[in-house]
């Protein structure tokens, strides 16, 4: 294996600039003559805005302009759209109330944008924002999903504050399965609300060039073309030729930077109004208030089993909080990215899921690392664990008994997906062996001797990644295609520039994609540059989310490389006086079968640009573009096992061991893949133990609005995670890859909560904070003493 080829843990190309302080994040960019924007945000959760008086603010020092929703309305600015239409169980589309970048009549959550102040300096903008007088006629805030249906209306368009009442699966088949069941396990679950907290706050610079009547937008985006599409086609009504979106180095996204937000929209619009570049960077407090949040489900689940432990049917009822407005993809997350995963790794023959999407006076909720799939895994893996306990069966063996078997693939689930491949038992076996499951009881006894409670928890997760086959998602309501593009351009001297529609914000694409191209074209890894994140340079692309970059974006690169090779073959055949059919390409060289004739790829590239001796009918240049639309989702799967020890005196949960065995298909860079797994687990552990977004149920104020109130996981909260791999290659993309970015966050919460409930022998909702754990442990001690 070459040390920079596929399968090698190549050190990252992007690291030098990040390690020397030379990354270029949006806030690092400054434009000549720029002015600064500050948003006046609603201090209340739900109110009619009866008047806005900005006279004093407009006259304040340094103020360039103050804009309100009325100014945008007068200018014909539209609403931020939701790009996925979910059809509810009555056949109606979801309720889609408008979401204006600056409010027009009402505020609907604390942090809603009321006005935009633009000034020469940021401090002047902030000071002027404080001078704006707004009259609010307060309405009862709707915070709790459970009572939202009978509460004050947030949008006139959505009676009962219901966005959709949606279902998937065959209800009558499920009812029949339950009628024949020997056992029914049931559980009520909360999937707690999270705040994504990418370390780089969102930021934007809008710039307008009156000479060409065109805009440049710098934005912390995971998908610059999608942002451009939304800005142009839906909100600002501009031709795409007049807007360039640049997403430079982006400091983490985790989903929260997929969406089109009010602020970058307003900065772009305002740049033309004030004739100067307009810059905005979120303070962390604004990130807490206004970045799209994640999760927030309440669910009742029932699993029907026969006496031997075979799963017969699964029934799931979920309420999903969508927040005050629909963010860009908010409707698909608790529906098509959730209920479709409820088969898990199992042969459960009948599944039905009902989801009610609710509006509340809270920040919009949308995709956050895993997006729907962690919620599904949590439901499935928690109820399976509960069933194992009720049947007094080994939880590993109950899972094994219900696994889809290798000879059943391709496997059609009862919830729409068709798994192309998988092999679940070897993954389970490897995880059991790594954690030394057979001696767990001894470790538990040892903990008990030390006055501690030990538990072990499993999570056999599956995810649908590589988003996604365009026709499939189109039939389900998606407003976009989910293909990816790539352009592979040989330069005359043999270096290669690759333009990809994928966007890297920590994933290491510059390294992995270079490995891929170097391997395909047989050229040195150092000779490949990866260009991404600029609509002015790259072909139309769909960006990075849903663990899609390698499976979809990488496949597009692979296809473009194939086209380069095919053209090169014709040129090489001409130079070697052979027929193209007789020319083979291997390790960077074209050769003629049965001869010693050979031409290096770089020589062919040079010939393509200096075509003095050139085949007739072949165009000069070596520069090919490919689009790849996946044939199916990919299905990474694996088993995580967590082992915890709880101190009943303090309620502290210590993670004693963690093994993650994942099947991601073919792996290009194991070092990067393991890093993705570590980070994903950390976010999952964060959800299960530490993180929790809380709104005050009366006032709707965000209580967890800073790092002092929202518990971000720190280095000393984690053990060393042990990562293993098994491999079944994806059958339908050219690379055999499945995707690895979200797996950890999908698997981890269920594994950890299964371990904690095992230790406590009692149910507990996330986050399992020391206080909650301590109360349960103490009650048990008291109960035992009585």
């Amino acid at each position: 294996m070459p040390d920079t080829g596929i399968g090698a843990s190549v050190k990252r190309k992007e690291d030098y600039r990040f390690l020397t302080g030379k990354g270029h994040y949006t806030d690092d960019i400054n434009k000549a003559g720029q002015v600064y924007a500050c948003f006046l945000r609603s201090p209340v959760a739900h109110a009619k805005v009866t008047s806005i008086n900005a006279e004093e603010a407009r006259k304040a020092d340094g103020v360039v302009a103050v804009f309100t929703g009325q100014d945008m309305a007068d200018d014909g600015v539209g609403s931020l759209p939701c790009g996925w239409v979910v059809t509810d169980r009555h056949g109606d589309p979801h309720k889609a109330p408008p979401h204006y970048p600056l409010v027009r009549d009402k505020v609907r959550y604390v942090g809603d944008q009321v006005a935009m102040v633009i000034a020469e300096s940021l401090s002047q903008a902030r000071e002027a924002a404080d001078m704006i007088e707004v009259d609010y006629e307060e309405l009862d805030p709707v915070i709790d999903m459970k009572s939202a249906e009978n509460a004050e209306l947030i949008h006139e368009e959505a009676p009962g504050n219901l966005c959709f009442d949606w279902e998937l699966g065959d209800k009558s088949a499920v009812d029949e399965a339950f009628s024949k069941a020997d056992r029914v396990a049931q559980l009520d679950l909360v999937n707690n609300r999270l705040i994504p907290n990418a370390m780089e706050p969102r930021a934007a610079i809008g710039e307008y060039d009156s000479g060409t009547d065109s805009y440049t937008v710098y934005s912390t985006s995971q998908n610059p073309h999608l942002l451009r599409l939304i800005l142009c086609a839906f909100v600002l009504n501009l031709p795409e030729t007049k807007v360039r979106v640049v997403a430079p180095d982006v400091g983490g996204g985790f989903g929260s930077k997929i969406f089109a937000y009010a602020e970058e929209t307003a900065c772009t619009w305002a740049a033309r109004k004030v004739g100067r570049p307009v810059k905005w960077t979120a303070e962390r407090a604004e990130s807490f208030l206004t970045d799209a949040h994640g999760r927030d489900h309440i669910t009742h689940v029932e699993l029907a089993l026969d006496a031997g432990g075979k799963f017969l049917g699964l029934k799931v009822d979920t309420k999903a909080n969508l927040g005050a407005y629909l963010s860009s993809f908010s409707t698909c997350v608790p529906t098509y990215l959730y209920a479709t995963l409820l088969a898990g790794q199992y042969t459960t023959p009948a599944i039905h899921c009902n989801v009610k999407g609710m509006f509340t006076n809270t920040a919009p909720v949308d995709a956050y690392r895993g997006a729907g799939r962690p919620e599904a895994t949590y439901v499935v893996e928690r109820i399976v664990e509960v069933a194992a306990r009720e049947l007094d069966m080994d939880p590993a063996e109950l899972r094994r008994k219900n696994f889809i078997q290798p000879d059943q693939f391709p496997y059609q689930t009862p919830v729409a997906l068709n798994y192309d491949t998988g092999d679940y038992e070897p993954t389970l076996d490897k995880a059991l062996q790594m954690i030394d499951y057979t001696s767990f009881s001894q470790r538990r006894a040892e903990s008990e001797r030390n006055g501690k409670l030990r538990g072990i928890g499993f999570s056999a997760y599956i995810e649908a990644c590589g988003l996604a086959p365009s026709a499939v998602v189109g039939s389900l309501g998606a407003g976009v295609g989910l293909w990816e593009s790539a352009q592979v351009r040989f330069n005359a001297t043999g270096t290669v520039s690759v333009f990809t529609g994928s966007h890297s914000h920590g994933q290491g694409h510059e390294t992995t994609f270079s490995q891929l191209v170097a391997d395909k074209l047989g050229i040195p890894y150092e000779n490949v540059e990866i260009v991404h994140g600029d609509t002015g340079q790259i072909p139309m692309g769909m960006g990075t989310y849903g663990s899609r970059s390698l499976a979809v974006g990488g496949s597009a690169i692979s296809k473009a490389c194939d086209k380069v090779i095919e053209k090169g073959r014709k040129i090489a055949a001409h130079l070697m006086e052979a027929s193209p059919e007789d020319v083979e390409f291997k390790d960077g060289h074209f050769t003629v079968s049965g001869t010693d004739k050979s031409k290096a790829m770089a020589e062919i590239a040079f010939t393509a640009y200096v075509p003095h001796n050139y085949p007739e009918g072949v165009e000069p240049g070596l520069d090919e573009t490919a689009f790849y639309d996946p044939l199916n989702f990919t299905y990474p799967a694996g088993v995580h096992i967590a082992e915890v020890e709880i101190d009943p005196d303090t309620g502290m949960t210590e993670i004693k061991d963690w093994v993650a065995v994942d099947d991601f298909g073919r792996i290009l860079n194991p070092m990067i893949v393991e890093g993705q797994v570590h980070g994903g687990i950390a976010q999952g552990v964060g959800q299960a133990l530490y993180e929790n977004c809380v709104y005050d149920s009366d006032s709707g104020q965000l209580i967890t609005g800073s790092y002092m109130d929202y518990c971000m996981p720190r280095a000393d909260n984690f053990p060393t995670f042990r990562v293993g791999m098994t491999t079944s290659e994806c059958t339908h993309n050219p690379l055999g890859v499945k995707g690895c970015g979200e797996a950890g966050a999908i698997a981890a919460p269920a594994a950890l909560m299964n371990a904690i409930t095992d230790a406590l022998d009692q149910e507990i909702d996330m986050p399992a904070s020391p206080e909650k754990v301590w109360r349960i442990a103490q009650a048990k001690i008291k109960q035992a003493a009585e």
Partner: protein
């Protein structure tokens, strides 16, 4: 307005600034040293860690005026003649960074740790990083990188 002078990465600088100017703003906006980042507004994330007179400090929590006359080192001053410092090299070698946003603060903080404790245990490294938040890596490879650099720097 106020005139402040200090040495930054070995160069003497003097600028006239608003007295409210934070050190991090001074570095980023007045000196264009944008490697020092701002990730929060409550002094907790550590993306802004620099060295002031050899000690790690959060540049978001000091006024530029407070470091008058001091010797300040930022991430831009750590590599010498383009060669990565062993700590930076270890972060690369062990994949101790993903998006790179927290990285400058992590590196500056880790360098200070090793000044205080050249041979820390994993637990001591993790505890020291209490004031630096990373959302990408799960910290595992950061700890590995710091331990590797510690070993390299001891030898």
């Amino acid at each position: 307005m106020l005139t402040v002078s200090m040495t930054v990465n070995g160069k003497e600088v003097t600028k006239t600034v608003d007295p409210r100017t934070l050190l991090v703003t001074f570095l980023r906006e007045h000196l264009n040293l944008t490697g020092t980042h701002v990730g929060c507004d409550t002094s907790q994330c550590g993306a802004c860690v620099v060295h002031v007179n050899g000690q790690s400090a959060k540049a978001c929590t000091m006024l530029a005026a407070q470091v008058e006359g001091a010797d300040v080192t930022t991430i831009e001053g750590v590599a010498k003649n383009g060669d990565l410092h062993p700590m930076q090299a270890a972060f690369k070698e062990h994949h101790g960074l993903q998006c790179g946003y927290c990285t400058p603060g992590m590196v500056m903080s880790a360098l200070d740790l090793l000044k205080h404790n050249p041979d820390p245990s994993d637990e001591e490294v993790r505890h020291w990083l209490e004031g630096n938040i990373c959302r990408c890596t799960g910290y595992q490879n950061i700890v590995k990188a710091i331990q590797s650099a510690a070993q390299e720097m001891r030898s």
